[in-house]
Symmetry: C2
């Protein structure tokens, strides 16, 4: 059963997912995409403000993409090409497990494509203590019921 | 020689880097972070608006992180925790090679920490045809000359 734009209720909040970070996964991602010393070396991380190894913000963002995918698997043709201001609020460390809380802020028909609509979403990525580590807003395009 | 906040010239434009995408790297990233069919399967991609395999937006963002790192290796303690509106303008496909154009929009002392300042940056990630694929603004914090 596919969720269409018509099924989306403004104000609804959904929450779920579990994306785990390990020292190995943090270092592996950073080696490819963001090899700053405090993302790939415990000693270098210990010397920073964060007092330990921390994940690249790009890694946290990629984890958000996975959590978003998991939480909206039944959505028809979700896509989002414009992301509003994104804030990285806390470091993500080895052992952290992230989940996603998604709030439907609003919805509107697509101005030109009759078969589609937009939903405006607030995303809060939370760690296992319930603290937000990443917050962003995005508009997703969904198919409308035909 | 470390580049400090004091060395940054407003209006300066720098460009560089080369981040290559392959069908394998696109599928591998997507399998971990964004396993939508059109990011992991050529046939599914061919059936979309994009007419072929395309990279996850999170993968393009991660490539930006690497290009930013390369272009600012000599900056003292660059960090950015708040990213302004981000737009994914074109799909990134196998064979694409991305580079970064970075423009210094402005600079300002840190309001509370005397040894640091902010620089406001416009980032344009371009493909090998010079077309922008990702645009975002970010404020980075740099050390000031002591």
């Amino acid at each position: 059963m596919t969720t269409t734009w018509d099924d989306i209720a403004v104000g609804a909040v959904s929450e779920g997912g579990a994306f785990a970070f390990t020292a190995d996964s943090i270092k592996r991602f950073a080696a490819e995409f963001d090899p700053r010393p405090y993302h790939i070396d415990e000693a270098a991380g210990a010397a920073t403000f964060y007092d330990g190894l921390s994940a690249s913000g790009a890694h946290t963002f990629a984890a958000w993409a996975r959590l978003f995918y998991e939480l909206t698997r039944d959505w028809g043709a979700a896509a989002g090409a414009r992301i509003g201001e994104m804030r990285l609020l806390r470091p993500v460390r080895p052992g952290d497990v992230l989940r996603l809380r998604m709030t439907i802020l609003g919805k509107r028909p697509h101005p030109r494509r009759a078969g589609f609509g937009f939903v405006d979403l607030r995303h809060e990525v939370l760690n296992q203590a319930g603290e937000p580590v990443l917050v962003l807003d995005i508009a997703s395009m969904l198919e409308r019921r035909s």
